[in-house]
C-alpha cells in the first residue's frame, strides 16, 4: 500500500520546524513485523494523534522514538532539528521528551510522590534524595491536573483511575517539549478526561507538542490538529482533523466501514435471572433494586463515585451488603467470597483487568484456559491438548485476537489485544450472569464491534448481562435497557429506542 501522505496546509508550526521527524522506521519482533517503513512527524506545539487498530504499531513507534527499542537499520531520526543515529531513554529525556505509557510503567511499591517525581528527582545520577523536593514537585504536578491525592500513599493502594492520574502527573513534571500520551484516558471518567484535554490545550498553547493515542475517536477529533493513521504496521497517511469524521477515521484505520445502530430489543417478557432488592452497603450504594433478564443486556452508566464498581463487587461476592437481597433464578443467594459467585455462575470482568486478570509471562493459550481447566482435561485428569487447542483457537478467532502464535507470552501482545485475552478468559467459563465493567477500554473500533457482536450473541444464548460503562454511547447502542446511577442510587431508567444519545448524554454528564 503506497503511503498517500496528504500535505498539511492548516498547521503552521508543522511547516516551519518539526519537533521530531522520523523516516523509514521498521521494527521486527521474531516473525511479527510491527512497523514497516513508517514516517512520522510532529510540529512544535502541535497536538498530533496517532490512530490505528490494536496491534497496528502505535506503542512500538512511541518506544522507538523514546529510545526503548532500537529500530531496524535505515531509520532516519531527527529531534528538534538535530539528526541522531541512536537514542536511549536517557538521551530522549534529555532532548525534552516525556511519556505516559500505556501500561503506566509506574512503581507500585513506591509512594505517589516518588512515582511522580521519579524522572526529575530519582532517576538521575547518584545524589541525595530530597524528600521535601519530591513532595513539592508532586504537589505542583497534581495541581496542574486539578487533583488532590495523598502523596505518601503507596501506589498499589490506589484504584486504577488514580494510578493513571499519577502517570499523567509524572509526565508533566519535567519541562518536556514533546509529551507522548499512550491511551491516557483509557481508565479515566468523563470529568477527568475533560480536565486532561484542557491540560493538553494549555501545554500546546505553551509550545509543548503532544502526541495523543486514544481509541475514543471523539476525543481524537476534539483535541488534535492532525492525525497519523497506522494499519498493520504501515503508514496509511497523515490527515487534518478539520473536517474529519469518526466514520471516515474508522474507515482509514480498519479499511472497513461500521455503522452504529441502536441494538436494543424488547426483553420484558423474558425470565428474570438476577434480581436485586433494596441492596445497601453504607457509604457505597443505597437502596439499589434492579432486574436482569435472560437474554438481556442491561446497561449501567454514571459518573465516577456513582457506586457502580462497588455494587459489582457485592454482586461478585467480594463484599457483603448491609441490607437487601440478591436472587439468582428466583433463589436467594448469599456469597462469602468470589469463589461462591463463580460457582453460582456469575462472571465479572473487572475494569482493571489488565493489571489483575492476566499472568503476563505465561502464554496466551495458558492464560485463556486458566478458569476452565476442568473442562479441557480428559478422563485421566490431564489436560487434553486437543481440547485446549480447540478452545483457544475458537476464542482467538471469535475475538479476532492478533497474535503470532498462541504459545507466545501475553506480555508480547499489544495492550488492546491483551484486553481481549482477558475478556475471552472469562467468557470461556460460560457463566449465567456476566458482569462487564468497561469491557472496551483501550480496544479499537473494529474490535469493539467484534466484542459487542459476541456479547450480543451471548445474550441471544440466554445469558443475563450487566454492562457497565461511562461512555454513554456504548450503553446506548448496545444495551436493551439503561439504568443511570449517581451518588450510590439508581436515579433513572431509559429505553435506548425512545431516547436519543444526546438526551442521554445530557442526563448523565450534566
Amino acid at each position: 500500500m503506497g503511503a498517500m501522505i496528504q500535505k498539511d496546509d492548516g498547521f503552521d508550526a508543522a511547516k516551519s520546524e518539526p519537533a521530531i521527524r522520523f523516516g523509514h522506521v521498521s521494527k521486527v519482533f521474531g516473525g511479527v513485523r510491527a512497523l514497516d517503513d513508517v514516517s512520522f512527524e510532529v510540529g512544535r506545539g502541535e497536538v498530533h494523534c496517532l490512530a490505528g487498530e490494536n496491534g497496528s504499531g502505535k506503542s512500538t513507534l512511541i518506544k522507538i522514538i523514546t529510545g526503548v527499542y532500537r529500530p531496524e537499520p535505515g531509520a532516519e531520526m531527527e529531534y528538534f532539528g538535530k539528526a541522531e543515529t541512536s537514542v536511549t531513554p536517557n538521551s530522549a529525556r534529555g532532548r525534552g521528551i516525556a511519556v505516559i505509557w500505556q501500561d503506566l510503567a509506574l512503581f507500585p511499591e513506591m509512594t505517589v510522590a516518588e512515582n511522580i517525581a521519579f524522572d526529575t528527582l530519582l532517576g538521575i545520577r547518584p545524589r541525595l534524595v530530597s524528600h521535601k523536593g519530591m513532595r513539592d514537585t508532586a504537589r505542583a504536578a497534581l495541581a496542574k491536573l486539578g487533583v488532590d491525592l495523598d502523596l505518601e500513599a503507596r501506589l498499589n493502594t490506589l484504584p486504577i483511575a488514580q494510578r493513571q492520574v499519577v502517570a499523567i502527573a509524572r509526565a508533566l513534571v519535567s519541562d518536556a517539549r514533546l509529551i507522548f500520551m499512550d491511551e491516557p484516558t483509557a481508565s479515566l471518567t468523563q470529568a477527568e478526561t475533560d480536565h486532561l484535554l484542557a491540560v493538553v490545550r494549555t501545554l500546546s498553547a505553551a509550545g509543548v507538542a503532544v502526541v495523543f493515542v486514544s481509541h475514543r475517536l471523539a476525543e481524537v477529533l476534539e483535541i488534535s490538529s492532525r492525525v497519523t493513521v497506522l494499519r498493520d504496521g504501515r503508514l496509511v497517511g497523515v490527515y487534518q482533523t478539520q473536517g474529519m469524521t469518526q466514520s471516515r477515521l474508522t474507515e482509514l484505520m480498519t479499511g472497513k466501514t461500521f455503522d452504529t445502530v441502536v441494538g436494543a430489543r424488547d426483553t420484558a417478557a423474558n425470565r428474570k435471572v438476577l434480581e436485586i432488592e433494596n441492596l445497601t452497603r453504607r457509604g457505597e450504594y443505597e437502596d439499589v433494586s434492579l432486574v436482569v433478564r435472560a437474554g438481556e443486556i442491561l446497561g449501567l452508566t454514571g459518573l465516577i463515585g456513582a457506586g457502580r464498581t462497588e455494587l459489582c463487587h457485592t454482586l461478585f461476592g467480594m463484599t457483603r451488603p448491609d441490607r437487601g437481597t440478591i436472587r439468582l433464578n428466583g433463589k436467594v443467594l448469599t456469597m462469602n467470597s468470589n469463589r461462591d459467585a463463580v460457582a453460582a455462575g456469575i462472571a465479572y470482568v473487572s475494569e482493571d483487568r489488565l493489571a489483575l486478570g492476566l499472568v503476563q509471562p505465561q502464554s496466551i493459550a495458558d492464560n485463556l484456559v486458566i478458569p476452565v481447566l476442568d473442562r479441557i482435561s480428559g478422563a485421566d485428569g490431564l489436560i487434553s491438548r486437543r481440547k485446549k487447542g480447540d478452545l483457544v483457537r475458537k476464542w482467538l478467532v471469535d475475538l479476532a485476537i492478533k497474535t503470532g502464535r498462541p504459545e507466545d507470552a501475553v506480555a508480547t501482545l499489544s495492550g488492546g489485544n491483551q484486553q481481549r485475552v482477558a475478556l475471552a478468559k472469562w467468557l470461556a467459563t460460560e457463566p449465567k450472569v456476566l458482569i462487564l465493567d468497561s469491557p472496551t477500554v483501550g480496544v479499537d473500533v473494529g474490535a469493539r464491534a467484534g466484542i459487542y457482536k459476541i456479547v450480543r450473541a451471548l445474550a441471544d444464548q440466554g445469558l443475563a448481562i450487566l454492562l457497565i460503562s461511562d461512555e454513554v454511547s456504548e450503553v446506548h447502542f448496545n444495551a436493551d435497557r439503561i439504568l443511570h446511577m449517581a451518588g450510590g442510587r439508581m436515579i433513572g431508567e431509559y429505553d435506548p429506542r425512545r431516547t436519543t444519545l444526546h438526551e442521554l448524554e445530557e442526563a448523565v454528564y450534566a
Binding site: V68, W101, A105, E109, L122, G123, I124, P126
Partner: protein, 330 residues
C-alpha cells in the same frame, strides 16, 4: 505513630510480636530481662544483622543471594593469607581487605547475572557450590588458628557494672553492626541510587524505560552484599578466634528467613533496615528464651520455623485497620 504503622505495617507488627514475646519471657524466666542477657543477645547476633542488611539490598533490587555465607568463609581464608603476607596488618587494613574481597565476589555474581541474563538464585547457587568446593579442596578442610593478635583480641566498646556486680559489655561487632545498619539505611532511604534499587526491584521494565542503568543496579546490590559478607566474615572470625571452612554453611538461610520476616519482599521493591534488625532479633530472642526455659536445643529449629510461619501469615491481619477500629470504637 499511626503514619509509621501505615508506612511500615510489617515492622510495626513485628515490633508488637517482639514486645509480647519479651514480656512473656520476662515473666517466665528471671534471667531474661537483664542487661547482661540483652548485651549478649546483641553481641551474638551482630554478624547476622550485618549480613541481613547486605541481603536486604539484594532483595530490594529483586534478586536473591545464597552464596554470601560461603563468600564470608572465602574472605576469612584469603584474609589470613593476606595478613600473613603483609606481616600482620591492623583493623583499618583488615576492613579494607575483607571488604574489598567481599565486593569482588559480589561483583562476580553481578557480572554473571547481568552478562548472561541468568536469574540470581541460579547464579548464586552455582557460585556457592563453586566457592565451597574450591575452599574445601584447597584447604583440605583445615582449620586456621594462627590469626594475628589484633584480629582475635577482644575489643570492648562499652562496659558497665550491674548492681549485682557482674560486668556487662558490648563488643566491637555491635559497633560494626550499627555502622552497617546506618550506612545501609542511608543508602536505601537517602540516595537516588538506593531509591532506584527499589524501583528496579519493583518494576524492572518501568525502570528500564525510565533510563535507569540496570547493570549499575546489579553491581551496587551485589557489591553491597559482598561488602557486608566480607565485613561479617571478619567479625565472625574475630568472635570465634579461628577460621573453619564450613562453619558458616547454613547461616544464609537463617539470615534470609529473618530478612523476609522483617518485611523484605522476595521479588523486590520492599524492605527496611529496621525490619531486618527486628527479624534477626525475633528469631534470636525466641531461641534465647527457649534456652533459658530449659527447652531442648533440638526443638529450637522447629519452634523458630513455627514463629516464622505464623509471623508471615499474620500479614493478612491489617494492623492499621485494627488501630482504626480501636480508635473509632466501632
Amino acid at each position: 505513630m499511626r503514619s509509621f504503622i501505615r508506612a511500615y505495617p510489617t515492622e510495626a507488627r513485628l515490633f508488637a510480636v517482639l514486645v509480647a514475646i519479651c514480656l512473656f519471657l520476662s515473666l517466665a524466666s528471671d534471667s531474661f530481662f537483664t542487661l547482661g542477657n540483652f548485651a549478649s543477645l546483641l553481641n551474638n547476633n551482630s554478624v547476622n544483622v550485618i549480613w541481613a542488611v547486605g541481603l536486604l539490598v539484594v532483595l530490594i533490587a529483586g534478586g536473591i543471594d545464597i552464596s554470601f555465607a560461603v563468600a564470608a568463609s572465602v574472605v576469612q581464608y584469603l584474609c589470613v593469607y593476606a595478613f600473613e603476607a603483609i606481616g600482620g596488618g591492623g583493623w583499618v587494613i583488615g576492613f579494607l581487605v575483607a571488604g574489598g574481597i567481599g565486593i569482588t565476589i559480589g561483583f562476580i555474581n553481578a557480572a554473571l547475572i547481568h552478562r548472561f541474563r541468568i536469574i540470581s538464585i541460579v547464579v548464586t547457587i552455582a557460585t556457592y557450590n563453586a566457592m565451597f568446593g574450591l575452599l574445601m579442596f584447597i584447604t583440605s578442610g583445615r582449620y586456621l588458628y594462627n590469626l594475628p593478635e589484633w584480629w582475635t583480641n577482644r575489643v570492648t566498646i562499652f562496659e558497665t557494672q550491674t548492681a549485682q556486680g557482674t560486668w556487662v559489655e558490648l563488643a566491637l561487632p555491635v559497633a560494626v553492626m550499627a555502622g552497617a545498619m546506618a550506612a545501609t539505611w542511608f543508602l536505601i532511604r537517602h540516595t537516588t541510587t538506593g531509591r532506584q534499587l527499589f524501583a528496579f526491584g519493583d518494576n524492572p521494565e518501568g525502570a528500564r524505560r525510565a533510563g535507569i542503568n540496570i547493570a549499575l543496579m546489579q553491581f551496587v546490590a551485589f557489591g553491597w552484599m559482598g561488602l557486608m559478607a566480607g565485613i561479617g566474615g571478619l567479625m565472625q572470625a574475630h568472635i570465634v578466634q579461628e577460621v573453619v571452612p564450613n562453619a558458616l554453611i547454613g547461616r544464609e538461610l537463617d539470615v534470609l528467613a529473618a530478612v523476609v520476616l522483617g518485611g523484605a519482599r522476595l521479588g523486590g521493591g520492599r524492605g527496611s533496615v529496621l525490619g531486618c534488625f527486628l527479624g534477626v532479633l525475633l528469631v534470636a530472642v525466641t531461641q534465647n528464651g527457649l534456652n533459658l526455659l530449659g527447652v531442648s536445643p533440638f526443638a529450637f529449629k522447629m519452634v523458630v520455623g513455627v514463629i516464622i510461619l505464623s509471623a508471615i501469615s499474620m500479614s493478612n491481619l491489617k494492623l492499621a485497620g485494627l488501630v482504626k477500629v480501636m480508635r473509632g470504637g466501632r
